[in-house]
């Protein structure tokens, strides 16, 4: 099986953590806006 041409962000440890933190920050702002 050929390796994928590009890596998705959550295919690495750093990408997973970065995405998690970024999403948390965005949803925090969204929740503040909603409340």
């Amino acid at each position: 099986m050929r390796p994928p041409r590009f890596r998705l962000p959550h295919e690495t440890l750093g990408g997973t953590v970065a995405c998690g933190l970024l999403l948390t920050a965005l949803l925090y702002l969204l929740a503040r806006w909603m409340v």
């Binding site: 099986m1 998705l8 959550h10 295919e11 690495t12 440890l13 997973t16 995405c19 998690g20 933190l21 999403l23 948390t24 949803l27 925090y28 969204l30 929740a31 503040r32 909603m34 409340v35």
Partner: protein, 165 residues
């Protein structure tokens, strides 16, 4: 009696969360990058290893249902189930966490699990198919890792730190 049930639900919610997300985080540490499953026939694979893997998967998969059921029960007990699910006012914080939790449970049961069945040998599959499925389960698992960050934050902040919002 209902208060005892509520406390039991909260306790189960945390225990189930530790089992489920703890497993997910342990998996992230063990496999920081995707690597395909080994080219072995599942029938010939080490039986003890396969049984342990199947038991492990079943444990955290059912832990997710414990988390879901206890969480929904607690919202119902507090009389804020509808408010949380419809993201009303101050309950929007908790509600966003609930929706992310629902998404994570659906991802586990409807995306990861059907493919993991083939990886772990519950359903017989050729090696190429197992490799394809192992990549899908990896990405599905990591998606839940990402979603767990805001879910845990919104749940705890929504319940314990309303002044943040």
């Amino acid at each position: 009696m209902t208060l005892e049930l509520y406390v039991l639900a909260r306790w189960l919610h945390l225990l189930g969360l530790l089992v489920w997300i703890g497993h997910n985080y342990a998996n992230v540490v063990q496999r920081p990058r995707y690597r395909p499953v080994d080219p072995v026939d599942t029938a010939a694979a080490d039986q003890l290893f396969m049984q342990a893997a199947q038991r492990e998967h079943g444990t955290f998969r059912y832990a997710s249902l414990v988390v879901l059921a206890s969480g929904l029960y607690m919202l119902w007990f507090r009389g804020i189930l509808t408010e949380a699910l419809t993201l009303q006012g101050q309950f929007a914080v908790l509600g966003l966490g609930v929706w992310i939790g629902l998404l994570m449970t659906a991802n586990l049961w409807f995306v990861l699990w059907p493919h993991q069945k083939k990886v772990l040998g519950f359903v017989p599959a050729a090696h190429a198919e197992r490799v394809r499925c192992s990549r899908i389960t990896f990405l599905s698992s990591r998606t839940n890792t990402i979603l767990s960050f805001p879910a845990v934050f919104l749940m705890t902040a929504g319940a314990h730190a309303p002044t943040l919002f």
